[in-house]
């Protein structure tokens, strides 16, 4: 398959103008999404990297889309900051653009929100080779059409992202994790339900089926002990406390629990959907964000079950048909036509 490299805005424009069909790729950590299909040229953006602006005091940075998240997080960390939506697959090479295009958030999205809550601006090359900017570089902005939010989950449909601006937050000074087991799945689910409505400011609230909850809290070292105690009181269980929990959650956000599975999917979940999901032949899995976000590892029949059940999902790895359902035609198609009239990019 043909592959070209673009490591600057101009090279991206050139690539778009000269190739009838393109498949952008950042690091390739979501190969189901970034592998070119019949007739597509692979546009490798791994050279389009680097942080362009970062003002820790503003809580804002701007970087090229091909920048590995690992690089960005390392820079943020030197100033005690982080991406609160906790994007997955960092160790596997995920890039900023690929993460936005796939629309992925990790376990700590529970506290402050997902990717869509932190993206501030974008510069992208549309299907005509034009450079378009949406949003801005300040934490609050309501001017013009929000093209940056359109990019979230777009799978590259509207253009090749070149630059992205994000809001960041201070990293908690200290963290602790409580793991609590229940005897029945219904009990675990009921506890999850209760925790969701309490003002406990959990960084992460995960259900590890069938019967385990994992909760992470962050804040001042002086307050964590008391907060942990309260959590145990609410749950009426001691559980197991992971004091040094960093490594644990890094493995979780890199979806290490899916390692053995041929197919990886993201499923927008809900409390009331969990029993249905649990009745399907899904493999290793974890519900994050209080049950609103499921990552699961599947065999082909698991994927078929999701599809037959009409349950929306996105395949990250291991299958050709990646997005179900298709975006709503009456709204999506005109936008696609406006930005990518010649159909150079994936989707639609």
């Amino acid at each position: 398959m043909p592959e070209i490299f673009a490591s600057s805005l101009e090279e991206v424009r050139e690539a778009v103008r000269t190739h009838p069909r393109l498949r952008p790729k950042g690091g390739g950590s979501k190969p189901a999404l970034s592998s070119p299909q019949e007739g597509e040229t692979l546009l490798n953006l791994s050279g389009l990297k680097g942080i362009l602006e970062y003002a820790p005091e503003e809580f804002v940075f701007t970087a090229y889309a091909g920048t590995p998240l690992k690089e960005i997080e390392a820079t943020l960390r030197t100033h005690g900051q982080y991406l609160p939506f906790h994007p997955p697959l960092v160790e596997q090479g995920a890039t900023l653009g690929g993460t936005v295009a796939a629309g992925l958030s990790g376990p700590m999205r529970e506290r402050f929100g997902g990717l869509r809550d932190f993206i501030l601006g974008v510069r992208f090359v549309d299907g005509e080779g034009r450079v378009v900017r949406g949003g801005g570089k300040v934490v609050k902005n309501a001017a013009g059409f929000p093209f940056h939010r359109l990019m979230v989950g777009s799978l590259g449909a509207f253009g090749v992202m070149v630059e992205l601006s994000f809001k960041v937050f201070p990293y908690p000074r200290a963290t602790r994790t409580l793991r609590v087991g229940f005897s029945k799945p219904e009990e675990a689910l009921a506890a999850l339900e209760g925790l969701r409505t309490l003002p406990l400011d959990l960084l992460a609230l995960d259900l590890v089926p069938p019967t385990t909850l994992e909760m992470r809290i962050g804040g001042f070292p002086e307050s964590l002990g008391r907060r942990l105690k309260r959590l145990q009181d609410v749950l009426k269980r001691e559980g197991e406390v992971l004091a040094e929990d960093e490594a644990h959650w890094e493995r979780v956000r890199d979806l290490a629990f899916l390692q053995e599975s041929p197919i990886w999917v993201k499923v927008p979940s809900r409390l009331d959907l969990i029993p249905t999901l649990e009745s399907l032949p899904l493999g290793p899995r974890r519900y994050m964000a209080g049950g609103d976000l499921l990552y699961a590892g599947l065999e082909p029949h698991g994927l078929k079950a999701l599809r037959d059940g009409g349950i929306p999902h996105l395949v990250l790895r291991g299958a050709q048909e990646v997005l179900f359902p298709s975006p709503p035609e009456a709204f999506f198609a005109p936008i696609k036509r406006a930005l990518d009239p010649k159909g150079r990019f994936p989707l639609g």
Partner: protein, 474 residues
Amino acid sequence: MGFLEELRALFPPGRLLTKEAELAPYESDALTAYRKRPLAVVLPERKEEVVEAVRLCYRHGVPFVARGSGTSLSGGSLPVEGGLVLALNRMNRILRLDPKARIAVVEPGVVNLEVSRRAAPFGLYYAPDPSSQPISTLGGNVAFNSGGAHCLKYGMTANHVLALEVVTPKGEVVHLGGQSLEGVGPDLHGFFVGTEGLLGVALEITLRLLPKPEAYHTLLAAYESLEAAGNAVSQVIQSGLLPGAMEIMDRLSIEAAEAAVKAGYPQVEALLIVELEGPKEEVEEEAKLLARVMGESGATEVRIAQSEGERQAIWKGRKAAFSAVGRLSPDYIVQDGVVPRSRLGEALREIGRLSQAYGLRVANVFHAGDGNLHPLVLYDGKKPGELERAEALAGEILKLCVRLGGSLTGEHGIGVEKKGYMAEMFAPEDLLAMERVKEALDPKGLANRGKVLPGYGQSPHQGGLKTDLGELYA
């Protein structure tokens, strides 16, 4: 059948307004300097009626404007001359409030504050809190991506909308998003939020609710200069704290607020309000750090609310500031630019200079944590030329915000008021992309025609820049 006859068949008498006296209240929004006479106003009570009305408009080529409570400060809900106004206030039902799922499904005419009121018994609330929250509607909030004092930590309206049912300008009904916090595929509902009614009318809105913070720590600090208050904000951020809100008021707005609601504010050059919120153990620790930061910030006085009553008193003055400024001057323009937080001092100095140069007073009340300025430009509309001078001054402030790396609007929208300045912030190709999207979804240019995009329709804006995108279409 003509357009009006068909409308009559759709809406019973009393819900179709066409007489001059009936139309008058709809001729403008809160930016009363602009007025337009619509052809008619309809008052739908169900979404099917909105859909039918939009389809009728499409068939007859009649422009339409959706309207909530008309509190837009940028002419966003100004009617189109000869067009239809869809006044959505009667669509004010909360269709579903599910505390377990942490969502509320509402009609577009529901008033913002009503959602929090209804969620309160479950310990939940709806976070975006524009100062207009007792009157503005969620449809308007969605169209403008409205904000409030808590945007740094909690984001704007877009972050709290999980799904939308929308009727496109061609009359097609689409469902965008879902009931989960997460989705797959392009974030189309996120894209709709903030497009100011140019891409369709929101018929139903699914909101995320959050657990109400357990504890608050609210503090009022007095400073001898605006700059010192601004520096204090930076010091708070640098300490690693993430307050729920940080607000600054200058002398003029303090005086106004004091005269209006007697909040008991000290009469100084600048006041800073900082509010921490979260679990009580956490807030206790954060408050200790905040006390140290305030101690080193040069504050001449620091008051800490000891009770919910004292906390409300601190907020009362701030929340009343806009309307209170009305006492100082017969008219005023509320501006709404954003600058990077570190440039606040510079921006305020320059605004002070411009105020002198134009001979008009400017009061400053702002969301300091977000860099979101609200300069209130005071003028007297009865004095010849003052409105024009005030508009020019407001325009200078907007350009200043863009020059400093910020934005034309943090929350009030572009509307008709700021569309002339869009070219200051966006390149022609950015605007063209917006125009193309608008045109693809709204080929007849009917939905809120003449707003936001400088090249679209006739500009009612008096001064300001005009861009001609014609050549780019060629």
